[in-house]
């Protein structure tokens, strides 16, 4: 899927990454994080609440800027980018899946998926076709014209996943994707992630559910802002 010369380059590369929240008592939410995620990797990030998981997610998702260190996405040093460029990069290279789905309730399933391409340069007709094929990939080809309120929780999350992958991102970032789902549904969502990963997508899942975390090939643990690789 990529040329041999660049196959070894990581999708995500963190060097000495840190994020301190200024205030009366500065909080070091993330300190000296080093991480390299290769294309096609499946990484789970676990840790108790307040450990800095979310901070890491926001940095990875280009929703926040680190206070020190560097973050390379697809080899691009994100520190050099303007806000507009970070926004564009985020739209093109990162797909988000959230705990609460964030679907527009008054728009159909296919429209919700097409939304991910609204701010890119994909022509409208193509957007529709891409959205349909993304929904077929997550097994929702039969729900195209439903509105989200008529779908089950698992189906909604599949729509959100289809939206996250439709623009062909380099990285799929999932924030507690099964937090609002029961065990059986969670299981099916995990299967979707595994399928996507087996097709070559890089997946990072933030979770506090050890079952979900256990499905990933690599697990990274956050504790008091310190990131460490588990097991192997």
């Amino acid at each position: 899927m990529s040329s041999p010369a660049t196959a070894a380059a990581p999708v995500v590369e963190l060097h000495d990454l840190g994020r301190t929240f200024e205030g009366a008592q500065p909080v070091e939410a993330l300190r000296r994080a080093d991480l390299s995620v290769m294309a096609g990797d499946y990484v789970s990030i676990v840790g108790p609440s307040g450990s800095g998981k979310s901070t890491l997610l926001h940095l990875l998702g280009l929703l926040d800027r680190p206070t020190k260190g560097s973050y390379l996405l697809d080899g691009i040093d994100t520190a050099d980018l303007s806000d507009a460029q970070r926004t564009a990069l985020r739209g093109q290279r990162i797909g988000f899946v959230f705990q609460s789905f964030h679907l527009l309730s008054h728009r159909t399933v296919v429209e919700n998926v097409m939304l991910a391409m609204l701010y890119g340069d994909t022509p409208k007709r193509q957007r529709h076709n891409l959205a349909i094929s993304a929904l077929e990939r997550v097994g929702l080809g039969h729900r195209l014209d439903f509105v989200p309120t008529l779908l089950s929780g698992g189906e909604r999350q599949r729509v959100a996943i289809a939206r996250a992958i439709v623009a062909g991102p380099s990285l799929l970032l999932a924030d507690e994707p099964t937090g609002n789902l029961d065990q059986t549904t969670s299981e099916s969502i995990m299967e979707v992630f595994e399928e996507l990963q087996s097709e070559g997508l890089t997946v990072m899942v933030i979770t506090h559910d050890s079952v979900v975390a256990g499905r990933a090939r690599r697990t990274v643990e956050m504790l008091d802002g310190v990131l460490s690789e588990v097991g192997q």
Binding site: M1, S2, S3, T6, A7, A8, A9, P10, V11, A39, S54, H58, G61, L63, D64, D74, G75, I76, D77, D80, L81, D83, A84, Q85, T87, A88, L89, R90, G91, Q92, R93, I94, F96, F98, S100, H102, L104, S105, H106, R107, E111, L115, A116, L118, Y119, G120, D121, K124, L130, R163, I165, A167, G168, P169, S170, D175, E199, G200, L201, T202
Partner: protein, 418 residues
Amino acid sequence: MTMRPSGESHMVRDLPSSSVSIRDLFLEAVSALLARPSRSALTALGTVLGVGALVSTLGIAQTAGNQIITRFDELAATEVVAEGQRIGFGSGSRAAVALPWDSGDRIERLNGVVAAGTLSDVDTAGALATSVPVTDPLGSTAFDIPVVAVSPGLFGAVRAELSTGRFFDEGHDRNGDKVVVLGAAAAQRLNVTRVDNRPAIKVGEEAFVVVGILADVQREPSLLSRIIIPNGAARSRYTLAAPTEVHVETDVGASRLIAGQVPTALAPGREELVVVKAAPDPTQVRNRVEGDINALFIVLGSVSLLVGAIGIANVTLVSVLERRGEIGLRRAVGAARRHIASQFLVESTLLGALGGLIGTSAGILLIVGVSAARDWTPVLEPWLPFIAPIAGALVGLLAGVYPALKAANTEPIAALRG
């Protein structure tokens, strides 16, 4: 596989920035508005009222103004009255310039004059008027009826109509004949009902022959209760030094012109001493009426428009808070701050334009309705139906600025987590 090959190196400046087409922006806004139809309708209501008030105000003012022109009192519009400037106050005042006895003739020579004549109060030194003696011990037979002296042209100038008899003429005037025309009320008091038997009345010791009785006087209705004698008789029997007023009837539209010429005709070289009263120009009257109505209702309309704008701003602001998740999501999928701001601006502008459109239609319906009820011809500036919805859109645009900025500044992190 739609994935991008990873690991390739990009120059930062090569990153295509995110963009959204106007059409997509418009469609997003429309579907957002349609998602909450009743709220959108209520939000637009303020603009509907504001624009509706403005449109109907301007239209009704214009329609009414037009009505004033067509129904403008043609009587007043063709009247010019001139008199000498007064010196002093009250009963002790006198005219600064003596109007000539032939004022009527002088004025009638002007082009555009239909009729002209003088009118003067006659001082009879308190003499009472009596008619042919009737033996009625209970009834009074002597009356204090004011006497006025006129030139024969005055009857035409004030549009007097006779019920019986005739007006006195140039001959009576020149000869100083002692004839009178009685106003209807004066005739009734003096018990004169017919003139074919040449009835006589007396003012003090002076006897006059009644030649005519007035039925109606369209201008100067006070003449109906006067004893009217020719100038000639007034000069010879009483001390009338000069005519008091000159009344002129002009052609329609000529009153302003005549008013300007009258002083020269009456007092050449001393024009400034002649005071001329003419009806104001009908177009000026219309403009003034329109102006009065407009000023009031434009203020009202503007206030409702302002209220409408505040309404839109308010609801859009609430909307921004409610849709934080959506804003966060849009930011996550690559929307720049300006895209978020644009979307909310387009939404509020659409609401304003929609309200403006409905308001314009309602306003025009109201104008037509009022016109129909009053039997008027509806009049409307042709640009108004086009400008008004644009004004509504502008109101929406302005109202959307603050909420749009607020939306653009929404932090995606907080929005997505919340």
